[in-house]
């Protein structure tokens, strides 16, 4: 990695680049959260499962951030920020991820509840992005749609096991759903960037994905003998860079080495 002239990086302005950043930041930040489970999951198989899911998300983030850098450089004529520059050298306010992915990992019930929501959303998203006017987004989606199908299956199976399991697993799984649901709506909120790129056939309108996700949740949660929560408040602001306190700590840990030793390689 070469050291950019300005640290932190200036804001990304190209709409498609910003769209790629939003999707890439979701994947990158959730990959960090899932990685925290390594050596701490209830079973060693789950260490590997959550670690593998994190790795898929990290791979998707690398392509998305790399594409964001390419598009931004082409649109503005400035030097191209690398995927590493964008991951390590942006400040918190320049991250475009939703609140859902930045929440602390919680217990296993919470993590599975979040996975159920996010993998269903991502699968619906990539299913549509295969038709994107952007070649890189379309190619990434064709691969990622298969990966997220495995992620979703993993979350569905655990939701069924925990919800329809013991009294304690049922209680904690339902509590996980209750904690996650106020953050669901933000995933499907149409922000200015999404509206613009959906109009040009490059992106997908987030609100158009909800009808494909809700029936899955109702079905799975119902069969798991639980109830889909009906929250009264909904998170907002992640796509505009307004985050919870949790993201700052996560980024501090993730960016520490890169910022302390600019340009270091091994």
């Amino acid at each position: 990695m070469t050291v950019p002239a300005t640290v932190p990086l200036p804001p990304v302005t190209d709409p498609v680049a910003r769209y790629c950043l939003a999707l890439g930041d979701d994947a990158l930040v959730l990959a960090q959260r899932l990685g925290e489970w390594l050596s701490r999951a209830p079973q060693i198989e789950e260490d590997m499962a959550l670690g593998n899911i994190a790795l898929d998300l990290l791979g998707q983030a690398r392509t998305l951030l790399g594409r964001a850098g390419e598009l931004e450089a082409a649109a503005t004529g400035t030097e191209q920020p690398s995927e590493d520059d964008l991951a390590y050298l942006r400040d918190e306010r320049e991250f475009r991820c939703v609140h859902l992915v930045q929440l602390p990992r919680g217990d296993f019930g919470f993590t599975i509840a979040r996975q159920l929501v996010f993998s269903t959303y991502q699968h619906a998203l990539y299913s549509r992005l295969v038709g994107s006017a952007d070649d890189v987004l379309a190619a990434l989606a064709a691969k990622a749609v298969k990966e997220t199908e495995y992620h979703r299956e993993h979350a569905v199976q655990w939701t069924l096991r925990l919800g329809d399991g013991t009294d304690e697993s049922h209680r904690r799984m339902q509590a996980g759903l209750e904690a996650v649901w106020p953050y669901v709506d933000e995933l499907f909120a149409d922000d200015d960037v999404a509206i613009e790129v959906a109009g040009s056939g490059t992106g997908v309108l987030p609100s158009s994905l909800l009808s494909g996700c809700e029936p899955v949740w109702v079905d799975v949660v119902g069969q798991a003998t639980m109830e889909v929560p009906t929250p009264t408040a909904h998170a907002r602001g992640g796509r505009d860079g307004v985050h919870s306190e949790h993201l700052g700590y996560l980024l501090a840990e993730m960016q520490h080495v890169a910022r302390s030793h600019p340009g270091a390689t091994w």
């Binding site: 590997m48 064709a142 749609v145 495995y150 299956e153 899955v216």
Partner: protein, 177 residues
């Protein structure tokens, strides 16, 4: 650049063979050719003056950690023939286990990993069940078709973990994707 383009195509064939013989670092019985991830080998045409040939490689999974090692091995394999290669990552069309050769499937089974069963699944409705929707692999040790899934994710992103109910041995299965 001119060095290769001025030579007969057999040189490119030699590079292709050498590159296809490179072994996967995570499943070292499979070659890149067996996996079907080498998509093309062709002369460099001016993008990078320090290279003679370009090798198009399609990653198996978005986050496959072997990607960089594979690229470095490809460059070394070409260098042994006197060529300077550049690896281009090609995302489309996306890799599928359907591209794995019959020879590759045989080698996997001998190595103790059940090869991908059948063709990659076509997407349908979300299966809301604890039972695995995937077709059951045969035990690579005793050949029994009776196996139970322990985990959808195994030692690498491309494998799942199973146990044979006949011989009781656990084994890995290369997932169809």
């Amino acid at each position: 650049m001119t060095r290769v383009t001025s030579q007969a195509t057999t040189d490119l064939d030699a590079v292709r063979r050498a590159v296809c013989d490179v072994l996967d670092p995570e499943v070292p019985v499979l070659s890149l050719g067996d996996l079907g991830i080498v998509r093309d080998v062709y002369p460099e045409t001016g993008v990078d003056d320090d290279c003679d040939v370009v090798v198009d490689v399609t990653p198996t999974y978005s986050g496959c950690p072997a990607t960089e090692v594979i690229a470095a091995s490809v460059v070394r394999a070409a260098a042994r023939l006197g060529y300077r290669a550049r690896v281009r990552t090609v995302l489309a069309p996306a890799w599928t286990t359907d591209w794995m050769s019959a020879e590759g499937r045989r080698k996997l089974e001998q190595y103790g990993i059940a090869p991908p069963s059948g063709r990659a699944p076509v997407r349908g409705p979300v299966p809301v069940t604890i039972a695995s929707a995937a077709p059951r692999p045969k035990c690579p040790r005793c050949g029994s078709p009776a196996a139970e899934e322990l985990s959808r994710f195994g030692a690498t992103a491309c494998q799942s973990l199973w146990r044979c109910t006949a011989c009781a041995e656990p084994f890995s299965h290369f997932k169809a994707i």
